[in-house]
Amino acid sequence: MRVSIDCDSDVVAARQKGRELASQCGFPSTDLAVVATAISELARNIVRYAIRGEIILRLVQNDGKKGIEVVANDDGPGIPDVGLAMQDGYSTSGGLGLGLPGTRRLMDDFEITSDFGKGTTVTIRRWRR
């Protein structure tokens, strides 16, 4: 399932679709909120920094475990220093910048590839316990 992210309301659409898909997979309500929140963060990054991109939602399986996978793709300016972006600045204002460390905490799997001028791809997964 692809959701193209062009503007604000697409962020809402993406997280609603994500919630639906996760619900189909049988995730409990807490996980639904977690997945929807993570999608919201990633989709917003696309709108803010890349103008345009897409969110791909998929149900996945591994070793008998079921899960949901979210891939956030964009052709934006990219993140020159991914390591720095992933640093957990434990600030009280929380959520500054790209919210990537937080998103990682929310999900089970987290992968990111990005480089200056090459766009960004973030892949996250959450598995059913």
């Binding site: 604000d8 997280r15 909120a33 963060e41 917003r44 460390p101």
Partner: protein, 127 residues
């Protein structure tokens, strides 16, 4: 999407719907700040019961609302955060620190009443 804002006595109550975009949030913030001055409200309740996601932007905006309204001499309470949403928020590292929160509208009004030492407010005594 417009968020309905009701006036109840000296308070403003904004009830948020579930599909709120970033733009809607910003609009809500600006409207509330404007209205507080206009009607000289003593307190503002933002009811987020219907929100299924409160992410970093929403948190920041809610904090901004509380801060700006306090500058105008009024108190803000966020009510109705769902358990699942609260869970996601703390996992993400968002704390809404410095902003009052209550379970629901009733509790929120009670809080504002105590805060404003409003003796007309009904208070339940527990013993």
């Amino acid at each position: 999407m417009q968020v309905p804002i009701l006036k109840q006595g000296a308070y403003l109550i904004a009830t948020v719907q579930s599909a709120l975009t970033d733009e809607d949030l910003k609009q809500l913030r600006d409207t509330l700040v404007l209205q507080v001055s206009k009607v000289r409200a003593r307190g503002v309740i933002v009811d987020v019961t219907a929100l299924d996601v409160i992410d970093s932007f929403a948190t920041r905006t809610l904090r901004d609302v509380a801060y700006m309204i306090r500058l105008r001499g009024a108190e803000t309470v966020i009510v109705g955060i769902q358990p699942e949403v609260a869970f996601s928020m703390v996992k993400l590292g968002l704390t809404l620190e410095g902003v009052a929160t209550s379970l629901d509208l009733e509790e929120g009004l009670a809080y504002l009443g105590r805060k404003g030492k409003n003796h007309d407010q009904e208070v339940r005594a527990h013993r």
